[in-house]
């Protein structure tokens, strides 16, 4: 067990550790104002983010991300279930959904600025909007790929439509739905940062942009690193939730 954990750790950590080490090494004597030594960036990082600026820059970003993501995923789930259970409806709606989805999410931010102005509502709306589609399409696809034998079994045992949905169809689509939610999360993170680049004084995106504009290059670098760390942590939390919810799926795959 311990052996397995340490092998896993080596497998996943060797590359990032090597890259950081290389960066550290090659930047030590850097005089280039745009590429300060990593040691300098690190000192500044600790100064800024442990934990003085967390309340004004990290917390707002995370609140935006969480609110927008939750709203978007909820709409995606409900919409996906409604469209996924109505074959007829799906044919009318899916092409439009496909079209909207192919607009790069970041490109919709200006539209939300026009509608809401430069404020909190605009950011959450833009994040939510971007999070809807990956989840919704995954739910539709998951419901359509429900195994016919399973649906027959539900019918013969006279499950109610609600039972069939909640106990059979949605769990069966669980693995596909979760991969859709994960994409929603990633897109929502990108839009969270992008939405802060305009007209905001708070948030990591805003911090990094302002730092760049005022030639505080080292500060900007700390912002970039912070985004990377946050993105990684958010994904990590998601993976833990997923692993818990799909335990049956992961364990049954391991056995077969």
């Amino acid at each position: 067990m311990i052996k397995k954990v340490s092998i896993n750790a080596i497998q996943s950590l060797w590359l990032p550790i090597s890259l950081v080490a290389a960066w550290w090494l090659f930047s030590t004597n850097s005089e280039d104002p745009f590429f300060p030594p990593l040691s300098v960036i690190w000192d500044q990082f600790v100064l800024l983010w442990v934990f003085d600026n967390v309340p004004i820059h990290v917390v707002p970003s995370l609140i935006n991300l969480f609110s927008g993501f939750s709203i978007g995923v909820l709409i995606g789930l409900v919409g996906g279930v409604i469209i996924g259970t109505n074959q007829g409806l799906a044919r009318y709606i899916e092409p439009s959904v496909d079209f909207i989805r192919s607009i790069p999410p970041v490109a919709t931010v200006p539209i939300f600025i026009m509608i809401f102005g430069l404020n909190y509502e605009m950011r959450v709306a833009a994040i939510a909007f971007s999070a809807i589609f990956p989840t919704m399409l995954a739910v539709i696809q998951g419901m359509h790929s429900n195994n016919p034998t399973l649906l027959d079994t539900a019918k013969v045992f006279r499950l109610t439509p609600f039972q069939t949905l909640v106990r059979v169809r949605i769990p069966a689509a669980g693995p596909i739905i979760f991969s859709g939610i994960q994409v929603s999360l990633q897109v929502a993170f990108v839009v969270t940062i992008a939405s802060e680049l305009l007209g905001s004084g708070f948030g990591i995106g805003a911090f990094t942009l302002i730092a760049t504009d005022t030639f505080m290059i080292t500060d900007a670098w700390t912002g970039v690193i912070l985004m990377g760390i946050l993105g990684y942590l958010v994904n990590l939390v998601f993976n833990l939730v997923e692993r818990r919810a799909l335990r049956w799926y992961l364990a049954s795959k391991k056995l077969s």
Binding site: T149, T153, R158, L159, Q163, W248, A251, L255
Partner: protein
């Protein structure tokens, strides 16, 4: 074994499938009936329409013409009092539910209390020899055990009628014998009228009171063979009897179109 009351009747059932290349005429004119307590097998060559007939009996599909009645009522959707066991247990049990949740899912609608549900689960798992497996997931069990769970789930709803499509086709020979005897026992303990599709003619003779032989394309009922082997049946003694050999030879020839 039978009280003479008709539970299932098929009357001049015709089934056509619409396919991209035209209409496929599968069942020509199928009529038979099943009395209370009877065990009937449906046999016939591969692709003759056995599964089709079975899906019609369960109300999952409607015949092109003719009628299926269960308890005298025309079947238009799966009726209450029906349970099924399918060949593909890996797809008919829900892998995200434990054994006990799989069994209790159809029970929730029957208005049973929590204790009654738990008692029923205990009872049916004991019946199929899987006591104590309540908290296991289906995929933690062997194929034969999973099919036992499917049988337990079926009898838990106290069905009047049990319909099975090649229930033992995916398990090894020894498990198959065990499951056949389990079905005989369950049927005896719970007095369930049973219809089963099988490829295995020996199995059909061993388990049944009557064997419905389908043949032809489109299929007709070639013959309904009565099986008078005495009860209780036994894998060694029943299969060793002279009537057993005669019946199986006869049905074998019919399925092969030799008679």
């Amino acid at each position: 074994m039978s009280t003479g009351k008709v539970i299932v009747s098929a009357e001049s059932v015709v089934m056509d499938y619409q396919t991209p290349t035209g209409i496929k005429h599968v069942l020509n004119d199928i009529s038979f009936s099943l009395l209370e307590g009877e065990f009937a097998s449906i046999v016939g060559p591969s692709g003759v329409g056995k599964t089709t007939l079975l899906r019609l009996l369960t109300g999952l599909m409607q015949p092109t013409s003719g009628t299926i009645r269960i308890n005298g009522e025309v079947v238009t959707s799966p009726p209450p009092g029906l349970a099924v066991v399918l060949q593909d247990y890996t797809r008919s049990l829900m892998p995200w539910l434990t054994v006990e949740k799989n069994i209790s899912l159809p029970l929730k609608r029957l208005g049973l209390s929590k204790t009654e549900i738990a008692e029923t689960i205990e009872l049916v798992l004991t019946e199929v020899g899987l006591r104590g497996n309540q908290k296991n997931y289906p995929w933690q069990l062997s194929g034969g055990m999973q099919q036992r769970v499917a049988i337990a789930r079926a009898i838990a709803v106290r069905p009047q009628l049990l319909i099975m499509d090649e229930p033992f086709a995916s398990v090894d020979a020894q498990t198959r014998f065990d499951l056949e005897d389990l079905v005989l026992k369950v049927r005896d303990d719970f007095k369930i009228t049973t219809a089963m599709v099988t490829h295995d003619i020996d199995e059909a003779v061993y388990l049944s009171d009557k064997v419905v032989v389908l043949y032809g394309s489109p299929a007709d009922v070639k013959e309904i063979v009565k099986v008078d082997l005495p009860y209780p049946r036994n894998q060694v003694a029943s299969r060793g009897r002279e009537e057993f050999a005669e019946l199986r030879t006869k049905i074998y020839a019919q399925v092969r179109g030799l008679q």
